[in-house]
Amino acid sequence: MDDFPIRILVVDDEKTIRDGLKIVLSEEKYEVEGAGDGREGYEKARAGEFDIALIDLKMPVMSGMDLIQKINEEEIELLPVVITGYASISSAVQAMKAGAYDYLAKPFTPDEILYVVNRAVETVRLKRSRLKLIEEREMSLKDLESEKGRLKTVLESIGDGIIVTDSAGNIVLANPAVYEMFLREGRKDIPDSIKNKIESMRQRIENTSDESFSRLVEEVGLEDGSDSVLAISCSPVISGRGDLIGYVNSIYDITHQKEIDRARMNFIMTVTHELKAPIGAIQGYLDLVLDGTLDDDPDKVREVIGRSRNSASSLLTMIQNLLSAIRKHSGLRKSEFEQVQLAEIGKQAVDLLRVRADEVKVEIEFDAAGDLQTIEADKSDMNDLLNNLLSNAVKYNKPGGKVVVSMALVNDDYVEIKCADTGVGIPSEAVPHLFDEFFRVRGEATRNVPGTGLGLFIVKNIVDSHGGKIDVSSKPGEGTEFRVILPVRRKARENG
């Protein structure tokens, strides 16, 4: 029954007693060990885990009485039983007073010693099982304590707000995230919009006939003029007996997700729109040719096929630019800041465009100030920036027109790039949308200019990622000037 055997220490200077007791007690499945004097008994009692010690009173080195006293003083966990040839009432009383559990006079029969030992063993077993019970109780209390602490810690460190209500809907608990969410910015209480939402969700769960109903998730705005959108997930709390005892509401900020959703929707909308326009044109022109509308006008047929061809190629460039923009957006290419010779890159961009500019009879003038040193920037970004600005300036120009590119230090910290053209200009209504993704100025003046609507969007992104600024001034029919300001040294807060 008992997993642990009872271990008995026999402390007696007479070897025959030790051996005899060993034989008798071993038959009862007790483990027995001997010690020849008080000192050895003490060492063994202290080191080994004995349940009972049979101790002779009269021993060399340390007397039995001293041993018993030491055992008591040091609270060594064993039951001392005195066995002595000096059987006298006074020594017995003295030993009992010193802490002995029992007393047996020498000489004794095996039955006598077994009777005494068995009584002691019974006590040891009782004590053991009582200890075990206490230990178990303490363990579960300890567990509970730490479980509570764990829960509290977890609750307090959750980034989502947690509001617990009782079954009637009264708020009984709110974690620090709730206070962080609502109570800063001068708010004194959880906003009514949130309270109302929690209450309406609670009522809906309460009124539902579906027993398995486990969770309700809804979105709510803060109604404070901000764009913040929160999601609230409300779950009923069921006790062990199956009673509904309250509700847990977890509240998390989904503003950012909503923004991403909106941006994604916007992206899909504009891409669809922009891709549809050239395809619609191609289809419309082809219909006119196929349905015979243009049968009597072969010149017009050639013209519309030419326009269809233009639409097809602008569609293709658009898709290519879209792919490279996505590659850049998705972080497949990261900006690497280094010391860049801006004038050098400007010169290269001009050279690259010279041929095309010559074709359309546009003159390019490039002027980099002598004191312009290197700036800390991403080289490939600077390439894209200048190529896009310059190619726009050439593309949207007029025959005999001019493009003037200049770069100079504004002060020790900033450099200014100007790109001015004598082109078609930008209608004022279009200016606010100029840097939008896929935006293109449409009209008679730009009808035959292929473009994707991504160029200036990419330019703006580059300028932003370098902590710079871009603005534009334009007069329709006269020309446009883009002005880019870039920091000479990378700002600390930009991390690539």
């Binding site: 729109h273 006119l288 519309v304 326009r307 449409r442």
Partner: protein
Amino acid sequence: MGDAKGRVLVIDDDPDFVDILKIILEKDGYEIEVASDPQSGFQKAVDTKPNIILLDVMFYAETLGFEYCRRFKNGADTKDIPVIMITSVGDVYGVDFWPADPDMLPADDYIAKPVNKTDLLDRVDRLIKRASGEK
């Protein structure tokens, strides 16, 4: 009205689309005027009193067309001119702009991009006839 079947004002910023409308309508005997933005389109409508207006919804990535359609319908000089709105936004937004709810938009009719030739000519013809019959 002269020799033409009627004068059509097309307000759209997509030159290819305008070109296609022009070919279709001119071949059918209409006279065409073009404006590439709604503002100048409005002025042209006031000045020349066309028989019908074909108005695009999207300008500069904004649905300015709706706003101008209302302006046409509220303007003393333009309120009797039928307006057909041309749109491809319906598909993009997943919203139905067809006249299921006539109060939603004041346009007389709607037509989707890319246009079907016979459908376009039918609608233009019908609306011009209806407008001249009402007078």
